[in-house]
Amino acid sequence: MLAFQEKAVFFSPCQLVITADSSTITAMPAIVVENLGRTYQVYRKREGLLASLRGLFHREYREVQAVKNVSFTIEEGEMLAFLGPNGAGKTTTLKLLSGLIVPTSGTATVLGHVPWKRENAYRRRFSLVTGHKEQLWWDLPAQESFRLHKEIYRISTEDYNSRLTELTELLGVTELMSQPVRELSLGERMRMELIAALLHRPDVLFLDEPTIGLDVISQRKVQQFLLKYQKDQGITVILTSHYMKDVEALCDRAIVINKGAVIHDGALAEIVDRFSQHKIIELHFASDSTPNGIDRYGVVLEDRPPMLRLQVEKQKVSAVLSQVLAEYSIEDVSVSERPLEDVIAELFTAEEY
């Protein structure tokens, strides 16, 4: 039994709420977002020179709701994916949570701080990494930028040295530390950006398209690193990415956002289950060829005799299977879900969910 003082004590750094009347210790969520909204005024320019001249005197604006009524909570140590097409509101939400912009409605707290107050106490505890990669001094070796970070984030020399060694080794960039940033490849620069973002051991990390434009090897290196680092440090991570490989490798939970609103919040695996209307049946025929007329059961995705892949409506899978097995001589059969990537693409093009 823990003995506590009479008054309730709030430790915002650790997000622990310790109540006086009981011995319960509850971990508060790291991020709480309630009805968050952000509207932009966008200048509406009509086509042509005449319209441009008219625009000098009279401007038309329209309101764009980049984020509307978004609510979610994220627990400490969670790694969550933010999925959505371009312009869905993912980046705007990350900008709101990192305090870059002020919302037009709603509230949010990250580690107990209101992000757009931009308190130094908060800014020392999170990092935002974007595909734009702008934390490093372009003309200087990355180590110069890191040294400046050491002072800005008040990292002790001991911590700095050990973290830098650890991060450079994990990301495989030890040799590149004295090379000017402008001479590094895109993948190497991204890894340096990650080091800059993690030197101060943030409790929350926002990753906005961290693997954009990277080749497969660099993408995988970044993925593996993030996975290990997050597991070791237990930090809270929000990741946005168009690469489903990133998402599948890193996150268990996903929030799907489209046209500014959350349309799914739950396990990544549920997305396929919930939104996919189809499954894939893979058939291996006993003969060397695939039969004609099989397309009456579904859409033929691949026809490589004796193998054939068929996309079938979810409800009809068992019926199709029994009919196909009765009708043809089949050596092997398997049923699988559609790839997440396809489901997401379908989801974003669909009118209603």
Binding site: S12, P13, C14, T130, H132, Q135, L140, L148
Partner: protein, 282 residues
């Protein structure tokens, strides 16, 4: 999870100084990367000084009495050289444009996300630029002053010298704050290059860069009530003995007053500008 640390006043002060020093040091290193281009640009900036001196020579040659509105040719050369010294402090090439560009392309987010003060960061960055510039420009400056030594007045008494140094340092502050304020306007209007052009033109006329300010103030008396004169004319006029000693302290106080006003304006513009910020550029 790591807990956020609370710092004592002393720890805060030391950490703040260390950040400023590191910004200064890193910016100086960055400045020295393109040393060839930098040295060339610095030297080329001296060419207009030479041509200007020749121009005044030609103008004064047409005046038989050897005087123009209270300035002899020697006075004029000395004035012009000292104005150039003041401008070496007050001019801020690329500051306003740099801020505007960073707002437009989104790189300003660096200052908003990290626990730094953007204006403070840019200030120490600019000091680094200036220090490197002085290190390179001091040679050519000394050479030009030595070549024109006959035109220069005698060194004034220590009190005036101190006032001159104060006016130069404040010229730096005023120049920085005016340009950063123009840069911050980009939070409202993304494109501020026309505004910068207007400022450059006004600065050229109203700071005394083109001609001594007494000549302009004859037909635009309110020129003396603007902050521009402290960017070029005022420091030069102090050393030339054109500011009466009994008004020196008052003038320096007014210059300091302008700095306070500009500083407050900068803070207000930043405060509201950031709230308007749309974080463009992805």
């Amino acid at each position: 999870m790591t807990a956020s640390t609370s710092y004592t006043f002393k720890e805060n002060a030391i950490a703040t100084v260390r950040v400023k020093w590191l910004i200064l040091k890193t910016a100086m290193e960055e400045r020295l990367v393109y040393r060839g281009d930098f040295a060339f640009a610095t030297l080329v900036r001296f060419l207009p000084i030479i041509t200007q001196i020749f121009l005044w020579n030609a103008i004064f040659a047409g005046h038989n009495d050897g005087e123009l509105n209270g300035y002899t040719y020697a006075n004029m050369v000395a004035y012009y050289l000292l104005v150039m010294v003041a401008r070496a402090f007050s001019s801020m090439p690329g500051l306003a444009n740099g801020i505007a560009l960073s707002v437009r392309d989104g790189s300003v987010r660096k200052y908003l996300i990290q626990p730094v003060d953007m204006l403070d960061y840019l200030f120490w960055h600019r000091i680094a630029h200036k220090l490197v510039y002085y290190a390179v420009a001091i040679g050519p400056f000394l050479l030009v002053f030595w070549l024109c030594r006959d035109y220069l007045p005698d060194w004034p008494e220590p009190k005036v010298t101190v006032a001159w140094i104060c006016s130069l340092l404040m010229a730096f502050l005023a120049g920085f704050l005016i340009e950063s304020l123009i840069g911050l306007i980009s939070f409202w209007f993304l494109e501020v290059s026309s505004l910068i052009f207007i400022y450059m033109m006004m600065n050229y006329f109203l700071s005394g860069h083109m001609i001594p300010l007494e000549w302009i103030s004859e037909w635009i008396p309110w020129v003396n009530y603007l902050p521009f004169k402290y960017l070029a004319y005022f420091p030069a006029a102090i050393l030339l003995g054109r500011i009466p000693p009994d008004t020196l302290v008052i003038e320096l106080t007014i210059q300091a007053g302008w700095i306070v006003i500009l500083l407050v304006a900068n803070r207000v513009a930043f405060h509201y500008g950031v709230r308007r910020y749309g974080a463009f550029g992805g």
